[in-house]
Symmetry: C2
Subunit: 188 residues, 2 copies
């Protein structure tokens, strides 16, 4: 989990406080679905390591703790940016269920693949705003805009792949179930 | 994270002890890359909630703590199996870097996309054993074998999609960089 690096990156861009950082994180990397509750521990950890520090609150924001990055924080962030990343492990919970399912769980899992497929489709519709594709194609927009579109397209690719995976899982479960019924149902 | 459910699922199938459970987990859901260090806290948590319990060690295994599932553990596991799962959030660290990159970080990130693409290709070769595809096609194998193949194919799909995503990111970064050089390099 790199919520820590994401929060540090946000604070480096400009100082902020807890709730505001949660909103900026959501805007920037919505597909990551960072939980709000992960941001506060990240802020504490970063403070303890002196990668960020609390600063004077600007007027009118009494009692709200603002954070800014330290020089050490900047160095740490740049070193992270520079380091090769691991490929993220596969973390679809439905696949974990598949791995541990007994044959009698398959009818329910077949239903769950349908529900999850629909959830993927809904998310695709949500992400596919009109006109965005042309923005990307034109490619004359500043880098941060392009980065946002790349993240969105990565998420779209991933969702489409998930749908194909879910469909394959469903048809294989149906085949396994049919085979099982054939065996236990008194077929020769 | 559902290491907890995975460990409970393994113990339900048959009792086991820490190190052995780590190995069984790896065999079963290798693509999840569960860290060994996550298994022990999961065992503690499951014990505390009385979903598993320590049992008498079989002869010759003095000092090794074995665990077996309780009835409550079985109920808990079946309820989990029955519940719809969330779509896993996008967790590629390289995409997070992209979201926070400045233009001057792009040359390094372009290199990192190449390294990660190679890592994906290596993993694809590792997973694609000869003959497995026919096994799946034949579909007359028992469910646990099919489940293993489905997980492997899900991982392969995901890796191929990642490669396409990385290639798109790379070409877009190159375009952004060329545009930037054009602007700062004195082009009209």
């Amino acid at each position: 989990m790199s919520v820590k690096h994401a929060v540090l990156g946000l604070v480096l861009e400009r100082p902020g406080y807890g709730y505001e950082l949660i909103q900026r994180l959501e805007e920037r990397v919505g597909g990551w679905k960072p939980s709000a509750t992960a941001v506060y521990p990240a802020l504490q950890l970063l403070s303890r390591r002196e990668l960020i520090r609390a600063r004077e609150t600007p007027g009118g924001h009494r009692g709200v703790v603002w954070y800014e990055a330290t020089d050490a924080g900047e160095d740490h962030f740049r070193a992270w940016m520079d380091t090769p990343s691991e490929i993220a492990p596969l973390r679809e919970e439905l696949l974990l269920k598949l791995a541990f399912a007994r044959v009698e769980d398959l009818p329910r899992l077949i239903d769950l693949t349908r529900e999850q497929e629909q959830a993927c489709l809904d998310r695709i519709v949500e992400l596919s705003g009109p006109g965005d594709v042309e923005l990307l194609a034109e490619e004359r927009h500043p880098w941060p805009v392009l980065a946002g579109l790349l993240l969105r397209d990565a998420e779209l690719d991933r969702l489409r792949t998930s749908i194909a995976t879910l469909q394959r899982c469903r048809s294989t479960m149906k085949a396994a179930l049919a085979h099982e019924l054939h065996h236990t149902g008194g077929g020769r």
